[in-house]
């Protein structure tokens, strides 16, 4: 028997001492990818930021300067390019939501063979390379394309083609991003049970009220993730804006490429890349916040 009060109980010895030691195996497993990300992603970002802020001085050394940024934000042409990029991204996000949400809702709440075909059709663009899509677009909606030929055949006037206008990249990028957006929204809708919807209808909700009060709040995170992914890709896209878009103003992707290769101004091209990265990271933070919030739940 131990004395009452004051007695300090000895801590029992752990049966397996290795239980109390931290094992480094997990860290070792992630070390290689983390190093690769550091080398191929983080370092180029840091290097680009440094190269735009510390530039060679006349005395042979380096000096801190915001010269290239000041030029970018005071140059009408650069600002127009940034504006058209933001406009294209915004329009694409809007169209993707308007097009993909009904498709996802249909696929989630319908059964049978037709939804399976619709799903295959919605996923199909994922397997079509952007360059092929761009040329298909030109052959269909371009000047003297298939639509024009069909309209002409029935005696109707030609369409005003979106090819080489800001709408060209919008149409191409929306088409290109439909599969990923549909898949992400569909996965979010999978978490909305049929019974949750039936319960809402049971208490008197009509279909639009079910959508507004029950479905949309439940898939808010999925919408955010889908749009973040799409916007990140669209903002810095190159092929479709390069082939389908106007020569001026142009989106940031072709603009960077032309500044680097045609104008031969790598310093300015890097500045444009850092500014593009700055916008993309905002959308990236939305995505990270959404994932973190889900993990928290």
């Amino acid at each position: 028997m131990s004395a009452a009060g004051g007695a300090v109980q000895a801590q029992p010895e752990p049966l397996d001492e290795s239980e109390t030691r931290r094992r480094p195996y997990g860290l070792l497993l992630v070390a290689a990818p983390v190093l690769l990300v550091g080398w191929l992603v983080i370092w180029p970002i840091v290097s680009a930021v440094i190269r735009t802020l510390w530039q060679p001085a006349d005395d042979g050394g380096y000096e801190f300067t915001l010269e290239t940024y000041v030029f970018f934000f005071s140059d009408r042409y650069s600002l127009d390019n940034l504006t058209v990029t933001l406009w294209t991204t915004g329009m694409c996000a809007l169209f993707l939501l308007v097009i993909c949400l009904p498709i996802s809702l249909y696929l989630r709440f319908s059964v049978g063979r037709l939804p399976a075909y619709v799903q295959s059709l919605a996923i199909f663009p994922m397997f079509v390379p952007s360059i092929i899509l761009a040329y298909a677009f030109i052959r269909v909606l371009g000047p003297n394309g298939m639509v024009d030929i069909l309209l002409n055949a029935v005696g109707l006037p030609k369409i005003r083609t979106p090819y080489l206008t800001p709408w060209g990249p919008v149409i191409g990028l929306v088409w290109d991003n439909i599969p990923l957006t549909v898949l992400i929204l569909l996965s979010g809708l999978g978490n909305v049970s049929n019974q949750a919807i039936e319960a809402a209808r049971d208490v008197g909700a009509r279909w639009l009220q079910v959508l507004w009060y029950i479905i949309l709040p439940r898939i808010g995170n999925s919408i955010l993730v889908a749009l973040s992914f799409s916007v990140l890709g669209i903002f810095s896209s190159f092929t479709l804006p390069y082939v389908l878009g106007p020569a001026a103003p142009e989106m940031m992707g072709p603009f960077m490429q032309r500044t680097f290769r045609d104008v031969n101004d790598p310093q300015m091209a890097i500045t444009q890349a850092v500014i593009t990265f700055g916008f993309c990271i905002v959308f990236g933070l939305f995505y990270v916040r959404s994932v973190a919030r889900n993990r928290g739940k």
Partner: protein, 363 residues
């Protein structure tokens, strides 16, 4: 309070008849249990009443008004789902208030009605909790409150306690019965648990393959089951196949006098109506296993043809494995062509089958 009339309702899914020519009238304030095994059509029937499925044929009226073409949101019914179906992005208060909000009631009235129903289901002060912070039982109470707050004419409960543990189920079903009695709300309760149906229902509908086997009060369903299926499904029952010949039901182990025409029949006797007597010499069967439940003992008796019967006895003390016993059935019923043809409230002691019969059967 409301009256529900269902007439000749049939539901086809392709070639499958989920519900086949079902009719019932549920009166004001009555609690009717739809009981049956999986696939018997009980949930489909409830979903048709709630408006989530449309009958292929038939009619459904609530207080004389045809509701068959009304969508769920326009029906005067409230449904409680098996999985609770609470909306996890809303707290308890908002879950319950949602239906009232859709009806554009004043805020003060919504608050007053939600608080009242929370009090009714024993969740006073839980309004601000998120649904995932509640236990399974509390979640089911919120689901019940969500339906009750709208004061539906008919309350539909679709296996509401199926996901809860036994102890909680027993407590909740008593609470639901109390609430139903207090509000006098007409209720249909789907369950596959016979004890649940027997303990809460005013009437039980036993369904099998979409068809009605019996509609009766719980005691009647238990004591005078209309078909061998009901006899076997409700409670424990010994079902013994045999042949009636010259006024006796004959089995390889025993014969029982019955006043029915000759032919094949099934004898149904409950374990509590089957008494055992130690046999002096070779008995009708022998004890295979004795299970002591404390309050009573269940004795498994093996007949010479290998068939096993259960007998409920007050204690396990006087029975042991391989002991020779004779059987004394009390109340029993005889079934033929899926209908009861004979009932005996107090059975006549059975006669041991002549040894030649046993010999013949066992050969």
């Amino acid at each position: 309070m409301a009256r529900l009339d269902i007439a000749n309702v049939t539901k086809l899914f392709g070639a499958t008849r989920a519900v086949d020519d079902f009719s019932i009238t549920v009166t004001d304030g009555e609690l009717v249990c739809l009981l049956g095994p999986s696939g018997s059509g009980k949930s489909t029937l409830l979903r048709m009443i709630g408006g989530f499925e449309k009958p292929t044929y038939g009619s459904m009226t609530i207080d004389g008004e045809e509701v068959i073409h009304l969508p769920p949101e326009k029906r005067p019914t409230g449904m409680v789902f098996q999985s609770h179906a609470l909306w996890s992005h809303m707290n308890v208060f908002k879950n319950i208030a949602f239906g009232l909000k859709l009806r554009r009631l004043p805020k003060a009235e919504i608050t007053q009605r939600v608080e009242a129903v929370l009090d009714l289901v024993g969740l006073k002060g839980f309004g601000e909790r998120l649904t995932h912070q509640l236990s399974g039982g509390q979640q089911q109470r919120v689901a019940l409150a969500r339906s009750l707050v709208l004061e539906p004419k008919i309350l539909l409960l679709d296996e509401p306690f199926a996901s809860l543990d036994q102890h909680l189920r027993e407590r909740l079903r008593e609470e639901v019965r109390d609430i139903q009695q207090r509000l006098k709300i007409t209720t249909l309760f789907v369950t596959h648990a016979q004890d649940e149906a027997l303990s809460v229902a005013d009437r039980i509908v036993v369904l099998r393959d979409g068809r009605t086997e019996q509609i009766a009060k719980p005691a009647e369903v238990y004591r005078t089951p209309a078909t061998p299926f009901v006899a076997g499904f409700i409670g424990q029952m010994n079902l013994i196949s045999g042949v009636v010949s010259e006024g006796e039901f004959g089995h390889s182990a025993f014969n029982v006098p019955v006043a029915v025409a000759d032919g094949p029949a099934t004898l149904a006797v409950r374990p509590e109506a089957l008494t055992l007597k130690p046999a002096s010499g070779v008995g009708m069967g022998h004890v295979h296993r004795v299970t002591d439940y404390g309050t009573h003992a269940m004795i498994d008796v093996e007949l010479p043809d290998g068939e096993r019967l259960k007998s409920m006895m007050p204690t396990a003390d006087e029975w042991s494995s391989m002991q020779q016993v004779d059987l004394v059935p009390g109340a029993f019923a005889l079934y033929r062509d899926n209908a009861a043809i004979y009932r005996a409230d107090v059975g006549t002691p059975p006669r041991k089958a002549p040894s030649r019969t046993r010999g013949t059967v066992n050969a």
